[in-house]
Subunit: 365 residues, 4 copies
């Protein structure tokens, strides 16, 4: 109820502050009997980890995850899986000067008003560092989805600041620090270098996709699959927009164009983004998210302090000049967490999912 739990049947409760002793999460509801070890989780954490290129924060945090419970002899037992990541590279003094002044565009101001007290070190609870437990939980979800249904989630960058990024191939994504689906990323390198030099930051757009999703996941009329994806994505730090399928472009479409025709071999198009009436159609789930520029920048800006007085704010510390760069693995985790929760919800009400899938859905992509 206080907002730190993701999901209902596969429920992930997140805890921690950027510069506290540790961050982590408890997963309640993971099905029993699945092989799981720390390496399964570490792989995804490493993709999100800071310090991996010069375009992201230089905080050197190993983000080593420890499984505290819920796994016995390498197999999940159906009991809560607690995941712990110790914080090791906190430099709290970096943040001392902003404890009493609000960074424009940052959660400083609202946390202070809401709770009357906040941990200002590294953004405390509002830090993007808290996406690490989400990614860790997402790795567990992904493993189960893949094993049960062959479901795969993946994400790539589709826009970096003003630069649109065309789609060449998913194969490129792991080959560059931008998660870009293109072979040549030199212009992104140059763009980011110029940005850092200017003491500024930029936004981004991310595309996220799931393949191998059976027909029938999603709970109308409020907990629709697309509604929960929108909730998950908009809840990611700095996200300001979410689209499913044709998204905002659909406002200008005609019904004769937008509605995806069906044939005995499957759907003819995917304007729907794989979701009809809030329920997965068996097509690929397609979403896009817009990420705002990092609010912690070097350039000085006008603001106020906790006493309401006018001040200048300039953030030193170690920050991502484009938080969108590391967002791809997080978006994947979020989508996986939404999907597993709906898989279990569907199984609860309608019985085993695989039986519910009519033959045609296999061909429908």
């Amino acid at each position: 109820m206080s907002g730190n739990t993701f999901g209902t049947l596969f429920a992930v409760t997140n805890f921690g502050e950027s510069h506290g002793p540790a961050i982590g999460c408890v997963i309640d509801g993971c099905p029993p009997g699945m092989p799981l070890c720390e390496a399964d989780i570490q792989a995804d954490l490493d993709r999100r980890r800071p310090g991996t290129s010069r375009h992201v924060t230089q905080r050197a945090e190993p983000d080593a995850v420890e499984i505290l419970s819920g796994v016995y002899e390498g197999v999940t037992t159906g009991t809560p899986i607690a995941l712990l990541i110790r914080n090791t590279d906190q430099r709290s003094k970096d943040y001392g000067d902003i404890a009493q002044r609000f960074r424009p565009g940052h959660a400083d101001y609202t946390y202070w008003h809401k709770y009357g007290v906040r941990d200002p070190r590294g953004g405390g609870r509002s830090s993007a560092r808290l996406t690490a437990p989400t990614v860790a939980a997402g790795a567990v979800a992904r493993k189960w989805l893949a094993a049960q249904f062959g479901t795969q989630v993946r994400a790539c960058m589709s826009q970096l600041g003003e630069l649109e990024i065309g789609f060449e191939s998913w194969d490129h994504v792991a080959q560059n620090p931008f998660f870009a689906p293109v072979a040549d990323v030199q212009r992104f390198e140059d763009y980011m270098d110029a940005l850092r030099k200017a003491g500024d930051s930029c936004g981004a757009r991310i595309r996220v996709q799931a393949t191998g999703v059976p027909v029938g996941w999603g709970e109308p009329i409020y907990d629709k699959l697309d509604a929960d994806i929108a909730w998950a994505m908009m809840g990611l730090n700095a996200v300001k927009g979410v689209e499913i399928g044709a998204g905002f472009a659909s406002a200008a479409q005609r019904g004769t164009v937008h509605g995806d025709s069906l044939s005995p071999d499957g759907f003819r198009s995917n304007n729907a983004g794989g979701i009809l009436g809030g329920i997965s159609s068996g097509q690929d789930i397609e979403a896009q998210i817009a990420i705002k520029p990092t609010s912690s920048i070097l350039s000085p800006r006008e603001s106020i302090d906790t006493a309401g007085q006018s001040v200048q704010v300039s953030t030193r510390g170690r920050h991502d000049p484009c938080v969108g760069i590391r967002a791809a693995p997080i978006a994947e985790a979020l989508l996986a967490l939404v999907l597993i929760d709906h898989a279990l919800r569907h199984r609860a009400q309608c019985g085993d999912v695989r039986q519910a899938v009519a033959p045609i859905s296999a061909a429908v992509r």
Copy 2:
């Protein structure tokens, strides 16, 4: 868990099918002591009601609401408020020919796969008619928010098909059937007439805003205020995209531009859309939603039937050529429902909301 409840502390459980005996909802958690009568609710229902202009479905349904419980001598008692709307103008035969064939872009296909059985009359549970109970519950939420905090929610159309709609004044919205914030709507009349003649439908974009929202509402890190708004809006039938504040435009912005500066008199801009770190900032909440074209259209399209055979589908019946037209009052209700829930959640954890608001917030708009 099965997706028909909106909210947690102000929880609205929705029921009904388009052509069943009745639709309605139960509100659990409405604070006691608030004056409430059917007329308070009917006003909002009437704004959403079909048959009010030639540009919306001609189904003539009075949508008269009856309060079944939770109100004694005109005052809420803190017990569940059940709201009932009888269905009166069902013409089920209009839909007989589509019981076994799937309309492209419609929930027919996914409901059938998910549940194995569905009520096909008028779209059954997936009908936009089920937004009426949401609007009714929203009216209760709005009354409480206005009385407690002076919070107001309002929405207008910002795009109709290919036509962008500039903003002139909120005063115009109630003066035309399009909820357009402009004085002259002749081009929308013409556009819609041509569309109907073509047997086609179009999409739309809606802007929704809340004023008078105190600082501090929203529960990080998952149930953020913007995440819940995204969930609510994306859950509305036909919505394919949601933006908060600068939305997708923020992907191309720089940090020096996007971050809203603060002064002792308040914020200097509102790219954030009134939400920072998932918590309201005291500024106006601003959101935009994209609505796809109606999937029930007269023009014949390729599809399949429940046996997987190729068929042509052409929907007669009475349908909105642009479901976005009636979406404004629904979007308002959805925003109000998100806000009241977070108001109560904030009060639970942090005590009385009004005390938590620092003086500056009053000036910050």
Copy 3:
């Protein structure tokens, strides 16, 4: 969150006041594909109904249930099932004299303090009349449990005031107005007649049992099956105690006596009441509940009014002299509702329930 919803996956939201327009509930999460009609529900309602013997309240209420949604052509669709019962025999003037004074032992006092306002007619929301929607929802749960697993729930009276009631046979329960499992109930008739003459009321004890419950239902460590049964039963009006299996007697037992031995043919005894570690063991579920005497009695008692002044209270109106008499069908419904919720929760996490049951469980009763 405001306490009017029973269950999570088979969630029943209850609404109404004793003398308002109607009472009812919305069931969200009923599996699709189950035949269901009003008669299925009415049978259980009739067993709970007032006015069926001279030992219960003479309020003559048909309690006719109407299914408003969630059923199409006699089959559940997986969408919410709304059940409506109109109130028809309200005599509100009977209660006019107690609107401002608190009946000892009654919820008048606490509702008034909690909400600041209450519907005093017939006890308003705190009336035992509000168990009717629970019974109606329980009937749906029972039908599904019986069809899926052969699960049966039943209850009988085991104590009436000071009178202990031995167990002869379940067959007698439906043959007398006391739900007593004995052939001769003359002494209960005499006891109740004397009680009414004295203007007094008495307590009771009820035994409730479920057979055919598979091994594996229940969610440790908090939402244990027995914990949820205790919650359900203690939440029934006037209940002051709940026991599972050996109950309070187990405090004086030794481990060598209490622990139910297992053999290849099943358990040797059932001190556990069918639940071990919060999970069903495949044995019969056994519970007992203690019900306090009705607080609305004719005999005058000392109390205070809303101004805090000393007053005498004597309740006329139509009341059950022993609310325990009509409690048996309600206890059955409550147990069924707990069981179906755990059946679905188990299915969500562990897959199809019937596959999870090892062969031995069939023999274990």
Copy 4:
């Protein structure tokens, strides 16, 4: 949904196994601004700790708690409070012989059936050791309740095996290892010594009380305060019965006796146990629980193994001969957790609790 979370607004998610790396919990919803340090929690943990007398298990576990998050500079921040207790004295070989055979009366059998896999070391997840995180969370709840309302919770033993324990004074409870409210405990020492010699175990009864509870906590009609207390208590390992106020004795009472009269100075008696209609009345909350004998005993018993074959089971290891002895601090914690959750739920719906309490309630105890 999978049963490991206690509460809604003050939600405690418990994790861990008896012999895994660690146990702990995450508290989501603790109000901000409360001073909190590890010592506040350790005091209650130490009262529950094993190895404190010869009558409890000799496992020597310091149960040292670490606060991982949610507290900054000694004050709660309103963000999740993660509490970690490392397991240090696991002797897993003690349990090796029972991995394949089911202890009568133990959760071994049902966990194995439910999940198909379980951690058998020390009872794994079903161990009473998992009450430690509950106690830790309860300590946080108690501190807040005491600071806000002066609410105090306390528990004592009222029966040890066959021995009834009269009530002399709360002052004695902390002076003996039995939590007995009497000065002379020699007969309990002798009783326990004989029991251990016999290789047997015994049950117990515990009384738990809360003082200083304002009028108005509790959410009818399902989440009643007494229903939630029953849920909490029945969910405690080995509990088989729960009573509120007069409990099972009320079945034999008359209405003229049971109903607690009110006077301008307060209630005349407390058969209700401080709860009317599911809502606190301002009187002391009074509950009793029955605890079954420990199922892990030295005396050999008949059972089966995982292959369904007949075996003898005799448990060595280190076990409490009467789990009831250490139950008092746990029962206190459970009651505190129920109360704080309802305090926050009441505040959400009805506003600040202290304002809601009418003057008379201060005098009513």
